[in-house]
Subunit: 188 residues, 2 copies
């Protein structure tokens, strides 16, 4: 799955009142997403935030585990966190991937509610297997989720996880479930 990337979006996302905000970084999310990226053999994971101080924090964290003492203490963290990159915004992440792959990126938005034209996990899993159509970037929103504009502007929208009317998972666990539904058959 080395033609697939993920992005943890900190802006633009909603807060609980539906206002568009930039959320603060959660370091545990970076660890969890990096380890998921490594588990599913992804090409990389972007931390997207316009806040330079937050990018600096993320960079210090990844440097510790990739180049610093952490790399010796726990090499499996190094393997995971070396997949993490930073971008100011979605366009920055797309530019980074396109520079690396020389091809247009197709984006896949995730959402806790059902959008018109949303793809099932089965359908999306099939699309993702066609390497020649990639690279793909799967977008995960922090806070109360990606803005409607970002979701509707993406190439594909995924159906929600479900959950009997309860759609309040953390972005960490939602990303885990979504990646496993899309790519789990490949690692089992």
């Amino acid at each position: 799955m080395d033609h697939i990337y993920i992005a943890l979006i900190h802006y633009p996302v909603y807060d609980r009142q539906g206002r568009v905000i930039a959320t603060a970084l959660t370091t545990i999310d970076i660890h969890d997403l990096a380890r998921l990226a490594r588990t599913y053999g992804l090409a990389g994971g972007y931390v997207v935030t316009p806040l330079q101080s937050q990018q600096e924090l993320a960079r210090r964290l990844t440097d510790h585990w990739v180049k610093g003492r952490g790399a010796v203490y726990n090499p499996t963290r190094k393997e995971a966190l070396s997949l993490v990159r930073m971008a100011d915004d979605l366009e920055g992440a797309l530019d980074g991937i396109e520079a690396e792959r020389g091809r247009r990126v197709r984006t896949v938005a995730t959402a806790a509610r059902r959008y018109a034209g949303a793809r099932s996990y089965e359908e999306m899993a099939g699309l993702l297997q066609k390497k020649e159509d990639g690279p793909y970037l799967i977008l995960f929103g922090t806070g109360w989720g990606l803005t409607q504009e970002m979701i509707e502007g993406s190439d594909y929208i995924l159906e929600p996880i479900g959950g009997k009317g309860y759609n309040h998972l953390s972005v960490r666990t939602a990303a885990a479930i979504i990646l496993d539904r899309l790519l789990g058959r490949r690692v089992r």
Copy 2:
């Protein structure tokens, strides 16, 4: 799935050197596990630790969201965290469930490596659907995982998640993937 419980085990588990330890509580794990329990319609989630100060911390956290100001601020957290109970050890959790259900509990251990007799997700998912054989308690280890003794003493052992040789997910994300593989069809 109201005949299925989960337990987050803080003792006995391994540390990275393979010593048996009690890990410290991670409050984010309690939130994530509770929200997973609610998402998959589980009967409850146990936080298992012999450390009374840690139980007290967990109780303060759940009280805040279930009875305190948090319940008003965010009712969806209340829904999730009201599923959380505390136990000193595995036996305490089993006693609690058996008192509630009047039936012997069957335990399902999760592990990052493959044990003899491990069940596939498909097989275990089929077994879990037989309500009449329950209740079931699925065990998740913190730290470097459940002890061999606890795993081999359980009624069922699940196969590992996989991951192309990389088995270093957080317990939060591992639990999300495992619950979805076992119960995901029921919530989609």
